[in-house]
């Protein structure tokens, strides 16, 4: 039905830090059939408020609906689509790879190139910690495949605007005004 081509978008939401909020949000995504590629939640700089960062799959129309439905939840205070902004986006991953005495230094070279860290060494494996955007993590994973990846754990992306002028907290209404009037919850 939706003719827009599929892409991924980053959406950030400021939410009340109350029991069940994550459930409300994820239940809405499930019920409406929106796809989340990743979701990261943590405290914000304000007491009792958390920030959620979603990477959502879908075209413009889907993202507009996601934004509106997020905003409709009473516990969601602000929603921003920050995909096209000048943002810093980061994700942390832990990767356990097979390694032995012979290939350990080769792995260390790859790790260095990616400015990643080895955070645990065992006789037959290593744990590598890497931060960066999703692409960087995937490239590192590709390079490590040859050694044998045993386990991958990723936090999901978090993102923030560059510069002092933080638009995350106030841009939702302005961004959307052009197309459908004012933002609001209902």
């Amino acid at each position: 039905m939706n003719m827009n081509k599929i892409s991924t978008r980053t959406i950030s939401a400021l939410v009340q830090d109350k029991p069940g909020v994550l459930n409300r949000v994820s239940s809405m995504f499930r019920r409406r059939g929106f796809n989340i590629a990743s979701l990261a939640v943590g405290h914000s700089e304000m007491p009792n408020l958390s920030r959620m960062t979603f990477v959502v799959e879908g075209g413009d129309q889907v993202v507009e609906q996601v934004t509106k439905h997020l905003h409709k939840l009473i516990d969601v205070i602000k929603v921003s689509d920050i995909s096209e902004d000048n943002v810093v986006s980061r994700e942390l991953a832990l990767i356990r790879v097979k390694s032995n005495v012979q290939n350990r230094s080769e792995i260390m070279q790859v790790v260095d190139i990616f400015r990643a860290n080895i955070v645990d060494v065992a006789p037959e494996s290593l744990i590598i910690e890497v931060t960066g955007d999703g692409n960087k993590i995937e490239s590192l994973q590709d390079l490590l495949k040859g050694f044998g990846i045993l386990e991958v754990m990723r936090t999901g992306t978090i993102a923030m605007n560059r510069g002092l002028e933080s638009r995350q907290d106030n841009d939702n209404s302005r961004r959307q005004t052009a197309s459908w009037g004012e933002a609001s919850s209902v």
């Binding site: 039905m1 939410v15 009340q16 029991p19 069940g20 459930n23 409300r24 239940s27 809405m28 019920r31 129309q61 507009e64 609906q65 509106k68 439905h69 905003h71 409709k72 939840l73 009473i74 516990d75 969601v76 205070i77 602000k78 959307q176 005004t177 197309s179 459908w180 009037g181 004012e182 933002a183 609001s184 919850s185 209902v186």
Partner: protein, 565 residues
Amino acid sequence: MNLTGGQMVCESLIREGVDVIFGLPGGAILPLYQTLPEYPQLRHILVRHEQGAAHAADGYARVTGRPGVAWATSGPGATNLVTGIASAQMDSVPMVVITGQVSRAAIGSDAFQETDTTGITLPITKHNYLIMDPAEIPQAIHEAFHIANSGRPGPVLVDIPKDVFQEKGVFEYPNKIDLPGYKPTLGGHASQIKKAAKLISESQRPVILAGHGIIFSEAYDELKELAEKAQIPVITTLLGISSFPDDHLLCVGMPGMHGMAYASLAIEEADLLIALGMRFDDRITGKRSAFALGSRKIHIDIDPSEIGKNIPVDVPIVGDLKSVLTKLNKHIEPATHVGWLQRIEDLKSKHPSMNIRDTDKLLPQYIIQQLSEATDGNAYVVTGVGQHQMWAAQHYVYKEPRSFVTSGGSGAMGYEVPGAMGVQVGKPDKVVWSVAGDGGFQMTMAELATMVENNIPVKFAIINNNYLGMVRQWQEFFYQKNYVATSYTHNPDFVKLAEAFGMLGIRVTDKTQVRSAIEKAMDYDGPALIDFVVEEEENVFPMIPAGQTIHDLIEEPAPEKAMRQ
């Protein structure tokens, strides 16, 4: 003031202006019940099934505009409310539901009658609360009423553990709401409103689609002003019926699956759709990609997420209809649209969807038409779901706002009995008719006892076709008359049933008895029931089969056309 949690609930409800509660007790909510005698201002109506409490609160809310209140105990009490809550959510009906929960210490232990009520109702409420401290009660209830009846209305549930009802705390009623994440937009964007006015003045063939939002916003006069000033025909959605008088010259009636053919055709031929507080439901659009392709669209709704959800829109306006239409009307130039109105008259005469077949048989359509005449279009009509619902929508001439009450989005059979009870409680001085299906009626008929007990004088017209008629119609059209599990071969004797409940019961099998039976039921002081034994295989026309377009319209009893596809 130091009060128990139970007392706090009652004090809070009184401060919110509540006068009636529909409910049924059980262990977890008992401490609340035991405080009720201290508050004689709160009228409690004891139902026979919690679904009845929820639908009754819904019916009460739809006709009064004030949130209906239902409450029940934990576990099965709460789950019995679910159908009614879901229906209210689908139709944006303001309701506050209170459920008892097991004591705090037992939560999560699968205790007796524990269910995760906030979890179950999360997707079918506008918002919900689990209270863990009696001191939270006043704030939560104050917020619940605010959320339920502002913005796009909806049901809000407050789940309260048994020991929270019992524990004492300081009662202080909040006088303000602090919900930073909830600030409905009311005013409408000034430049968008101007754009809408421009589109309206440019259009040659505009139509208004008036939905439930007009009723919630009570924007009847503003709608009428817009329609009359620019001479724009008004089409009402199923839930928009009664937002604009059916006997108005500009009223074109209901469109869509079982709407008037001329209303659907007018939408197809229009060059501008002005959608007011409606959501382009699939029963109206049919196949979305083929819906009203020749028109531009203005969509005014208080819920931004409805705009662009189903149909692309040219001029979206988020706001409360009363306020937006007041502003819009100032920019509207008087117009006549003579040619367009003439075209609609032509459509009406070429496609007489309201005609009733001339026969001696007892037709449901005839019964509704007689009901309309006998009550002069001034009764409140509540329906179940199915064929009788569509006939009641089509053939009654509604004159009074809020007077057509039906479970639209959810389509909950069984609404007709408790829904009508709530409507009558909300409008004690009005004549309330429940147009019931023999199927739906039997789902909730236990509430007849509640009505007799509380002297709630609803009049029932059971359109008894001994079938789950609407499903049978689908089987006839789309499954080669393969009537699987739709025939009721042993319906009860509804007249005896009425008498057993202590009501007046009348049976009508002949056309000539219709009018006198209606009069007799209305003259009777108390609830009454007429069992109209109608033509069993009568079908609802027109019909646009699900997912199809105006070109697939079936207007006459010639189902072969439909059966071919």
